[in-house]
């Protein structure tokens, strides 16, 4: 059996890894704030965070298309700075994926932070740790499992992304033609053999990653709140 072009798989992996990295940086402070705040706008922010779950991907993709268009403020600013359009580029897909996968990062992290309770942090504060210090040396290590779950979900969700990419990607080989689009195109052009092979490679890979992560997860220290 001949292997189909694997470029799209590689591209999907890069996109998922980048989206996960960006979301760890952006999602952690947001989840931390949501877990600790008593602000009255907390439910509003929580709802906004969950919205990408509600919107069908092609609808979300359509709005991202409008948002990233050179005519909008964001897309226009991007063109001015980089002299390229944000849509139809890897960066554009990354922005879209960050929006699309946001709840998959924030929700598990928020749950992990909430389960810590106030005790460990109060203890850290009593030992004169600064809040950032307390987070890095106490809260984050105790929430390792939460980070792992959030990262896995974000990564997997981005790999499986289809509708959004279909709208904002433009199907450019090497730049925006990710694996889901490639499989879809094979199916639509009745090249089922290539579609099956690519899908099988994707499934095997995803399966291997998930097994590895869950094995690793069992070895992590269990935190009891």
């Amino acid at each position: 059996m001949e292997l189909p072009e694997l470029g799209p798989l590689w591209l999907s992996l890069q996109l998922a890894a980048a989206a996960t990295a960006v979301l760890i940086v952006l999602g952690t402070p947001l989840a931390w704030w949501l877990a600790r705040t008593r602000s009255r706008i907390k439910p509003v922010i929580e709802a906004v965070t969950a919205l990408p779950l509600v919107l069908p991907p092609t609808v979300l993709g359509f709005y991202l298309l409008l948002l990233m268009s050179p005519r909008s403020w964001l897309g226009g600013l991007w063109v001015e700075i980089t002299d390229t359009t944000l849509t139809f580029s890897f960066m554009g897909l990354l922005v879209a994926s960050v929006v699309y996968s946001l709840p998959f990062m924030v929700q598990p992290l928020q749950a992990a932070f909430e389960s810590l309770g106030r005790g460990p942090l109060e203890a850290a504060a009593a030992l004169r740790a600064s809040p950032i210090d307390a987070f890095l040396t106490v809260a984050a290590p105790l929430s390792l499992r939460g980070f792992l779950t959030a990262a896995v979900l974000t990564f997997a969700h981005t790999i499986g992304e289809f509708g959004v990419v279909l709208m904002v990607g433009g199907n450019i080989p090497g730049k925006t033609r990710v694996i889901s689009i490639a499989i879809y195109e094979h199916v639509e052009t009745l090249r089922y053999a290539e579609a099956h092979t690519l899908a099988a490679v994707l499934m095997l890979f995803a399966f291997a990653v998930l097994v590895f992560v869950y094995v690793f997860n069992r070895r992590l220290p269990v935190h009891v709140a």
Binding site: L65, P70, G75, L166, V168, E185, E188, T189
Partner: protein, 265 residues
Amino acid sequence: MRATFRLAAALLLAAAGAFAGEVTVAVAANAAEAVEALAAEFEQQSGHRVTVSVGSTGKLYAQILHGAPFDVFLAADQERPRLLVEQGLAVEGARMTYAVGRLVLWSPDAEVEASAETLRAGSFRRLAIANPDLAPYGAAARETLLKLGLWERLRSKVVLGENVGQSFTLAASGNAELGFVALSSVFSWPNESEGNFWEVPGHFHRPIRQDAVLLNRARKNPAARAFHRFLGSPGALKTIESFGFVVDRDVGPGDDGRRGRSGAR
């Protein structure tokens, strides 16, 4: 007085109901508006009821293969209707070209001139076309660019929509300055006046023939047969034309496109 009127109306409806049939029509998205208008006209003339399902030709075809309850299939190409006849899922001899698509180069912005010169100058960032491997309009767009000798040069600027409707969306939202789209989409766009288009000369690409077939399930459905006949009527052709298609007055229903076959190969 009013009660009598109501009673009369109710009786009339009931009488009509006795003869009224049902037709379920599957139509490719790019012809949806035209076919919805046709359906309304047909309902008024015949008293039958028409249900219209819109989808992509490929997906509707797959659904029909798996037993979807459609009576008439109006595709965006000739390939799928031909395959359905071959596979014995559509009535032989009932394949007809109901519309021929008109490909235009379109710019939603009055400042950007949609023309072959603009394409040659390359003074734009992005050109949206439908995926040539999936959509007839995309194939026609690629043929046009090849004919102009610009395909290789513009390739890095080309972005692909899944279908011709998405190619239109990419241009309408400003993400691509130019797009090869269906004239029918330009006609149905509310801000039509702002943009400008160049209709690609017909000999630049193979004609975008859209075929309709009567599906097997409809063999014994007089309403479906009537709708299929209606598609070739002068009134229907006029409506289809008004939505931005060319019609082929020589090819009527029952004339199983001999032309069609030569075009598809």
